[in-house]
C-alpha cells in the first residue's frame, strides 16, 4: 500500500509539473505578452518599445527559466538599468527592497499580483474558493443523496415501471447541460413568462447571504447534470449486485426485501458510485464556471472567466494550478478509496 501511494503520488507530481508547464506556455504566448505590455505601459507603444519593456521585465528569458522562477525553484531575475536602479522579479514584491528574497514563486507562497483586481492573487483565490466551496457543498448535499436514492430504487427492482421512469429521468438529466437547464429553470421559476416567481434568477446576493430564494436555482442547475450520471452508475451497480448468489441466499433464509437491500446489497452496490462521485468533481468544475457566469455568482469559476477575458496572466495561471490540483487530488482519492472500499483489490 505504501509503495502504491508513493508511486501514485510520484506520477501525480510529474503530471502536475507537465500540466502547469503547458498552461504556463499557453498563457505566455507572444500575443498575450504584447497585450500585457500595452495594458501595463500604454496602448500606443511601438514594437520596439514593447520588446524593450518585455526585455526589461524578464519576459525574454528562456521559457523554462521563467517557469522555474514562477514555480520558485530558480532564482528570480534582476536587472540594473543605466541609472543604476535595480529591478527584479522578487524586488517589486518584497517588502524590503534592499534585501529581496532569492526565490519567489509558487513554492514560496508568492502567487503573484492580479493586474485586474489590483490585489494579491493568494487573497483573491482563497476568497473566491470559499464562495465556490459553499456552492459545491450544497451541490454535493443535494446531488449525492438524490442520485444514490434514485439509482438504488431503480436498480433494486430492474425492469419495473419505477425503474423505467427513474431511468428516463436520469437520461434526460444527463442530456441537459448546465447552460440549458439553467436557462430553462430561470424561465420557469423566475421570469414572468413562466408565471412562477419563486426564486431569483441571479445569485449575486448569495455571496454575502445565502437564502433559499437566491441559491436554489444555481445549486439545482449544477446538481441536475451530475445526478443522472451518478444515478445510472448506481443503478447498474445495484442491478448487478441484486443478481448475486448471496442476495438470493438472504432472501431464501427469510429476510424481508428492505432488510436485504439495506443490509446486504447497499454496501456492495455503493463501491462503484464512490469512484464515479469522486471523478464527477472535476466535471463539476466546468459546471461551476457555467453556473457562476449564468447566475453572476462571483466565485472561482467567474474569476477564471474574468482572468481569461482580461488577459490577467498570473491570475489565470493561479486558477489553472488550483483547477489542475483539484482534478489530480480527486483522482488520487478515488483510487485510494476504491482500494480501501473493495477488499477484493490488492495493490502491490
Amino acid at each position: 500500500m505504501i509503495s502504491f501511494l508513493i508511486r501514485r503520488s510520484g506520477v501525480m507530481v510529474l503530471t502536475a509539473l507537465c500540466l502547469t508547464f503547458i498552461v504556463f506556455f499557453l498563457t505566455n504566448l507572444e500575443p498575450n505578452l504584447e497585450k500585457l505590455t500595452k495594458s501595463e505601459g500604454n496602448m500606443r507603444m511601438t514594437d520596439v518599445q514593447v520588446q524593450s519593456w518585455l526585455e526589461k521585465n524578464g519576459y525574454r528569458q528562456p521559457l523554462i527559466k521563467r517557469y522555474g522562477e514562477w514555480l520558485g525553484v530558480s532564482p528570480g531575475w534582476t536587472n540594473t538599468d543605466d541609472e543604476g536602479k535595480t529591478t527584479g522579479r522578487c524586488i517589486r514584491r518584497a517588502e524590503d527592497p534592499e534585501n529581496p528574497a532569492k526565490y519567489c514563486g509558487l513554492l514560496q507562497g508568492e502567487w503573484g499580483f492580479s493586474l485586474v483586481f489590483k490585489n494579491d492573487i493568494s487573497t483573491i483565490i482563497s476568497e473566491k474558493l470559499a464562495l465556490t466551496g459553499k456552492l459545491m457543498m450544497w451541490v454535493l448535499i443535494v446531488m449525492v443523496p438524490a442520485a444514490l436514492i434514485i439509482g438504488v430504487i431503480a436498480g433494486m427492482r430492474e425492469g419495473t415501471k419505477t425503474d423505467r421512469t427513474l431511468s428516463g429521468f436520469s437520461i434526460l438529466s444527463t442530456s441537459t447541460p448546465e447552460y440549458v437547464s439553467g436557462v430553462i429553470l430561470i424561465i420557469i421559476f423566475s421570469s414572468k413568462f413562466g408565471g412562477l416567481r419563486w426564486f431569483k434568477g441571479t445569485a449575486a446576493t448569495a455571496m454575502e447571504n445565502i437564502t433559499f430564494e437566491n441559491f436554489t436555482l444555481p445549486v439545482v442547475t449544477l446538481a441536475l447534470y451530475g445526478v443522472g450520471y451518478i444515478a445510472r452508475m448506481t443503478r447498474a451497480s445495484m442491478a448487478e449486485v441484486m443478481t448475486e448468489q448471496y442476495i438470493r441466499t438472504a432472501r431464501l433464509k427469510g429476510l424481508s426485501f428492505p432488510a436485504v437491500v439495506l443490509k446486504h446489497a447497499l454496501r456492495n452496490a455503493l463501491i462503484a458510485p464512490f469512484t464515479v462521485i469522486m471523478l464527477q468533481i472535476p466535471w463539476l468544475l466546468t459546471g461551476v464556471v457555467i453556473v457562476e457566469t449564468l447566475f453572476n455568482y462571483k466565485g472561482f469559476g467567474w474569476t477564471l472567466v474574468a482572468a481569461v477575458g482580461n488577459n490577467d496572466i498570473e491570475l489565470l495561471l493561479a486558477c489553472s494550478v488550483v483547477a489542475v490540483m483539484v482534478v489530480l487530488v480527486t483522482q488520487l482519492i478515488s483510487d485510494i478509496g476504491y482500494v480501501f472500499l473493495n477488499p477484493r483489490i490488492r495493490v502491490n
Partner: protein
C-alpha cells in the same frame, strides 16, 4: 396584421417542418418493412428506447438537410421594428410573414436561427467525433496490443490531457490570440494525419500480398488524404475545394483534442481484453502481421462498445460546442449556432425569455436522442 395565437403558432411551426415529417415517415416505414435484414439497426427498432432516440436524431438530421425549406426568414437579416418581439409577431412590411417564435435582441427570427443552427451542430459534432475516433483507434490499438513502454508513455500522455479541466483547455486553446502563434495549425497538422495513417495501415495490412490492389487503394488514400489534409489543416489546397475557416479549425481541433484521449482509453482497454481470445491466437499462428490482427481481427470485434460510445460522444461533443458558444467562443460572432444563441438570449432572460428558449430545447432534444439511441444500441448489442 394580427399577432398569431398560441394555437396558430404551433400549427404553423409544425407545418413548417413538413419535409421533416415526410422524411421521417418514409425512413421509418422502410426501416420497419426491412428490419429483419438490417442487422443491428433493424434490432434497434425493436426497443422503444432505441426507436425514440432514432426519431429524435433523425428529426434533427432531416431538419439540418431541409433547413432552407423550413426556415421562414434569413437567420442573419435584421428587420427593423422586430427587436425582442413576442412569438407570432407579424413582420413589419411583409404581408403573410411572421416571426413564429419571436425576434431576438438584434431583430432576427428566432425560429429560423434555431433551424439553421442545427446545420452547424450536425456538421461539426459528428465530424469531430469521427476524427477523435481515428486518433483514439490508431493509438489505442497498438498501445493495448503491444503494451510495454509504448503503452506506458501513450497512457501517460492521454492521462495528461484527461487531467486538464475541459473548460480551461478550451479557454487556452480557443482564443483569437492563439491563432497567430500557430498552435492550432500545429495541432491540426498532427491530429489530421491520423485518418491517413489509419486508412493506409488498414489497406496495407489487408492487401499486402496483392500489390495491384494495394497500389490502387494506397494511392487513392494518399492522394485524397493529403489533398484534404493540405486544405483543412493548412488552407493550402491547390484546387481550393477543402477549406476550413481558421476560427472553425480552432474549435474543431480543440474538440478533437479533448475527445481523443477518452476514445484511446476505451480502445486500449478493449484491445487488452480481446487480444487474449482464441481467434487472435489463431491469426498469430497463421503468421499475420500485428497491424492486420489489430485492424481486421480486434477492431471489428470491439465494434459494439465503440458504436455505443460513438453515439454518446456525438452528444457530448454537441454539449461541448454549446459550452464554447455559451462563452462566446463560437464559430463566428453572427452564426446561429445554439450555444451562441443561448448565450445571447440569457443576458435578457428576465425581460425577454423567448429567444433563449428554442435553442435550449433543440440542444437538449438532440443530445437526449443520441443518449437514448446509445442506450438502445447497448441493450440490443448485449442481447447477442
Amino acid at each position: 396584421m394580427e399577432r398569431l395565437t398560441a394555437l396558430e403558432i404551433t400549427t404553423r411551426v409544425l407545418a413548417q417542418f413538413t419535409p421533416v415529417w415526410i422524411g421521417l415517415v418514409v425512413i421509418l416505414t422502410l426501416s420497419f418493412m426491412f428490419r429483419k435484414r438490417l442487422g443491428l439497426y433493424g434490432k434497434l427498432l425493436g426497443s422503444p428506447i432505441g426507436t425514440a432516440g432514432l426519431v429524435l436524431v433523425l428529426f434533427w438530421v432531416l431538419t439540418a438537410i431541409f433547413a432552407d425549406l423550413i426556415a421562414t426568414m434569413d437567420p442573419l437579416t435584421q428587420i427593423s421594428g422586430m427587436k425582442n418581439k413576442k412569438p407570432g409577431w407579424p413582420v413589419s412590411g411583409m404581408e403573410g410573414h411572421w416571426y413564429l417564435l419571436g425576434g431576438d435582441n438584434l431583430a432576427r427570427d428566432v425560429f429560423s436561427r434555431m433551424v439553421k443552427g442545427s446545420q452547424i451542430v450536425l456538421a461539426i459534432a459528428p465530424a469531430a467525433t469521427i476524427f477523435a475516433f481515428m486518433v483514439g483507434v490508431t493509438l489505442g490499438l497498438p498501445s493495448g496490443y503491444y503494451g510495454g513502454k509504448l503503452d506506458t508513455s501513450l497512457s501517460f500522455l492521454a492521462n495528461l490531457v484527461l487531467a486538464f479541466p475541459v473548460i480551461l483547455l478550451f479557454f487556452l486553446l480557443v482564443t483569437p490570440e492563439i491563432r497567430s502563434t500557430g498552435v492550432p495549425l500545429w495541432l491540426a497538422g498532427v491530429l489530421f494525419l491520423f485518418p491517413i495513417i489509419f486508412f493506409c495501415m488498414l489497406f496495407y495490412s489487408r492487401f499486402r500480398e496483392q500489390p495491384n490492389k494495394l497500389a490502387i487503394y494506397l494511392s487513392v488514400t494518399l492522394v485524397l488524404g493529403f489533398w484534404a489534409y493540405s486544405g483543412l489543416a493548412f488552407n493550402k489546397d491547390p484546387l481550393g475545394v477543402f477549406y476550413m475557416d481558421p476560427n472553425l479549425l480552432n474549435i474543431f481541433v480543440a474538440v478533437v483534442f479533448v475527445n481523443s484521449p477518452t476514445v484511446f482509453r476505451i480502445v486500449r482497454g478493449l484491445t487488452i481484453d480481446i487480444k487474449t481470445r482464441d481467434y487472435v491466437a489463431a491469426a498469430q499462428t497463421r503468421g499475420e502481421m500485428p497491424w492486420y490482427i489489430m485492424l481486421w481481427e480486434v477492431l471489428p470485434n470491439a465494434r459494439g462498445p465503440l458504436i455505443v460510445d460513438f453515439c454518446l460522444r456525438i452528444g457530448y461533443t454537441t454539449i461541448l460546442l454549446g459550452t464554447l458558444g455559451f462563452f462566446g467562443l463560437g464559430v463566428t460572432p453572427e452564426s446561429p449556432d445554439w450555444g451562441m444563441t443561448i448565450n445571447e438570449g440569457r443576458k435578457l432572460l428576465a425581460a425577454y425569455p423567448h429567444p433563449a428558449f428554442p435553442p435550449t430545447i433543440a440542444l437538449m432534444s438532440l443530445v437526449l436522442g443520441l443518449n437514448l439511441l446509445a442506450d438502445g444500441l447497448r441493450e440490443e448489442s448485449l442481447k447477442d
